[in-house]
Amino acid sequence: MDVISEAFSQAIRLIGTLDDKLIEIVALSLRVSLSAVAIATVLGLPVGAGLAVAKFPGRQALVVMLNALMGLPPVVVGLLVYLLLSRSGPLGSFGILFTPEAMIMAQTVLILPIIAALTRQAVEDAWNEYREQLTSLGARGWTAALTLVWDIRFSLITAVLAGLGRAAAEVGAVIIVGGNIDGVTRVMTTTIALETSKGDLPLALSLGMILVTLVLLLNAAAQSLKQLAERRYG
């Protein structure tokens, strides 16, 4: 209980004094996770939408696999991306291991299935609703998929938020490919892990509180955007 109240006051202090280190860590966390979400959305939306409307043998198996990949353990993703980016690995010559770019890449891999799978579900539901009308009008394939995505764009915010939540919360992937280098690749989650392992539990917890608050604010913002749009478009 003491730990929690000490953590709370420490969190207030860190935020109130705009602690330099804190700003640095938060800025990097946002940069890494938001970039990963942006890239994963650009890639995952078409994959999910295409899978929702397409019909081909093995489609069901692909849907199941995509859903299963949502549960990819972050540490496994981190390890795989590390082996890819290592100097001894296939992409080593790019030299991006132990940089924020590597972290963005690992998190993108991690959340791409989440965004794609949730998009697929949402678009498939919309397709079931609109299929006859769109087919009647002559919209097929990609045209139909893109129409649906645009139509349900505000529900897709939920899929994107799910990806963001996963990215902001994970530590296993970024710590392996980033190396948790002070001032270069240290983000909120890896700092929390570090301070915990140093036994500084109040500091770790205070950072945790700040992280959760941040994610909460992002979610709240997205939710109000969604509600605004729903009121406008029905």
Partner: protein
């Protein structure tokens, strides 16, 4: 003033040869042979569960027959602009404005951006929805959405317009509006094929009747002849209001959805 291009070869007549549609061995449509010609407004009439909706969807290409042949005068090729349109019993409007739903359909039909807007407005004017053009389509009332669907279909200038029980969910005032619009669309040169179980509507709107009962074509005659001298016992019973509700009648607006 005909909206439909008179020079192009018509896609009608539509020929059905022993067309059947079965699900799990049960024949929803049972060996229907029928020719739908240019000209008369055709009413697909029958009690709930007769298979009217399924027949409409087979004609429009939303379902494929499990046996038999269905052929248009000019075969439809995927990717080409569609020359038929359909209005469903329940509307599926996109989350856009009323005008936006029409311009979307026009865009699919390959109409240029400036033309889309002009034609969209014109279509809305024709059905009296111009004041609601910018309103989100999904907040319109049932009757307004149906009129919007008709406006959209009309803007596409189809050769054939299928209507699947379009007024089943509407009150008499809205129903009258819809029938008025259908009449105008027909006057502009579009072939009307409409399903209904409402005898009065069949009489008001139709020129010929295709009577369906339990998936089978029982009669195909001019409207006056059908109502004064029905040829089949089922037709006679139906006109008198004596046909029982069928066992497998559920939501007649989406039998196809049921079958999925």
């Amino acid at each position: 003033m005909a909206d439909v291009n008179p020079i192009a070869i018509s896609i009608l007549p539509l020929r059905l040869e022993a067309v059947s549609f079965a699900v799990n061995g049960v024949a929803i449509i049972d060996r229907v042979s029928l020719t739908i010609e240019t000209g008369p407004r055709t009413i697909i009439l029958g009690p709930n569960g007769a298979g009217k909706s399924v027949l409409m969807r087979l004609c429009h290409g939303l379902l494929a027959p499990t046996s038999g042949r269905l052929s248009w005068n000019v075969p439809e090729r995927p990717g080409e602009r569609r020359r038929q349109a359909m209005v469903f019993q329940r509307q599926m409007m996109l989350r856009r404005s009323a005008l936006g739903n029409i311009t979307y359909a026009l865009k699919l039909a390959g109409v240029s951006a400036t033309e889309r807007k002009a034609q969209g407005w014109a279509a809305l004017e024709r059905v009296g929805l111009a004041p609601l053009a910018k309103r989100p389509a999904r907040v319109l009332s049932g009757g307004e959405q149906q009129r919007l669907a008709l406006a959209r279909a009309w803007a596409l200038k189809p050769e054939v317009l299928f209507l699947d029980e379009p007024t089943a969910n509407l009150d008499p005032g809205a129903t009258a509006e819809v029938e008025r619009i259908i009449h105008a669309i027909h006057a502009a040169g579009t072939k009307i094929v409409m399903s209904t179980h409402n005898l009065g509507q069949a009489r008001r709107v139709g020129d010929e009747v295709v009577f369906l009962y339990q998936g089978q074509l029982k009669e195909h005659a001019g409207v006056d002849q059908f109502f004064t001298t029905p040829a089949s016992a089922e037709a006679e019973a139906f006109i008198k209001g004596e046909l029982p509700w069928l066992y497998n009648d559920v939501d007649s607006s989406s039998p196809a959805r049921r079958l999925r």
